[in-house]
Symmetry: C2
Subunit: 206 residues, 2 copies
């Protein structure tokens, strides 16, 4: 299985590293971080650099494409090189995946017309404008497109994807190795479950 | 708040990136990835490079120290430079934290004598040999030492830490921004909850 995970400047690290941590543990996987340029890309905070070892030109027919999100997606919305790569990869992929606002890049590539898709809760309206049918599920599978909600949802998406690729036994083994038995210490993880004042404070941020 | 997250060759990426993604969102935080050498460090799979911008010498009195785990901890168990840095940082830190087998490095530095601490389920015996009192909790707080279970538990630890540092309101805001409302598609996330045959298959791995 050849997996390509896209990187770019101002990517949200966990969007990429969540699925990576799961998918890199599939036996025999060839997982490559790709970008317009093969170099270090700084994450959204600027505090971490992630290395893309390969250019997108060098990885043209992955079985699985994963597009993470982050503030850096805004600069890529009109990038025809990235859009063309996503379109071409999607034409031959087994699964085309996104995390968070990475779905906006799938949409900008024109592959979400009439497709049900998830995104970060703050980007639902923008996703709808790409022609997607917005899903509020944490992970949405529609045909061969699998999309996750915000940031941390990429871990759930990754495990779902391993189940689809290799069957549940492999996904369960990886879940145990990653000790993925989440116990959030607070209850503010979704737009629907967070206390109203928490939502209001986050919405009021610049 | 000055936060130092240790990197090394063969680190498990999510161990470091989980707490990073949470802590980097604390207002005014100065978060630095540090290592013996300021360079790219390859993760355990070899498929990703993470950049340490700073040497440990350059970040000597962080308020928060985070030590991730991974197969690379084995090579560091006798590393007196790393152990000395952890000991010195712990002497002045507000919080000293680890994820997964990062707790073994805290133990090797001698700071877990009689301290309750968590680690990856597969490393509980090794942790006990450092003098720690092994906890099977996902996140354990004992004095100013906060330790997490395996890999993905670093996200829960990060949010707990933000609550301790800044109060619950800030932690809830970050949880919502990260849309951390986990919904694992399988139920094999802990040694205690995983089906026996899943545990047996993972234990039988080389």
């Amino acid at each position: 299985v050849l997996v390509a995970i896209l990187l770019f400047d101002r990517v949200t690290a966990l969007d990429a590293v969540g699925p990576y941590e799961v998918l890199s543990r599939v036996p025999g996987v060839d997982l490559r971080f790709v970008a317009n340029e093969a170099r270090i890309h700084r994450t959204d905070s600027g505090m971490l650099g992630l290395v893309a070892d390969h250019t997108i030109d060098a990885v043209t027919a992955p079985d699985v494409v994963v597009v993470p999100g982050g503030p850096g997606t805004r600069a890529l919305m009109g990038d025809e090189v990235i859009a063309g790569w996503i379109r071409d990869a999607h034409a031959t992929s087994t699964w085309t995946a996104s995390v968070c606002t990475g779905s906006l890049l799938l949409g900008a590539a024109g592959i979400l017309q009439g497709v049900r898709a998830s995104t970060h809760w703050s980007a639902r309206e923008r996703l709808a404008r790409t022609g997607a049918v917005v899903s509020t599920s944490r992970v949405t599978v529609d045909g061969k497109v699998i999309t996750a909600a915000g940031v941390s949802a990429g871990i759930d998406m990754g495990l779902t994807l391993v189940g689809l690729l290799c069957g549940p036994a492999q996904a369960e083994e990886i879940q145990l190795v990653l000790e993925y038995d989440p116990q959030p210490p607070y209850g503010a993880g979704s737009l629907e479950s967070a206390p109203a004042e928490v939502v209001a404070r986050v919405m009021a941020r610049p």
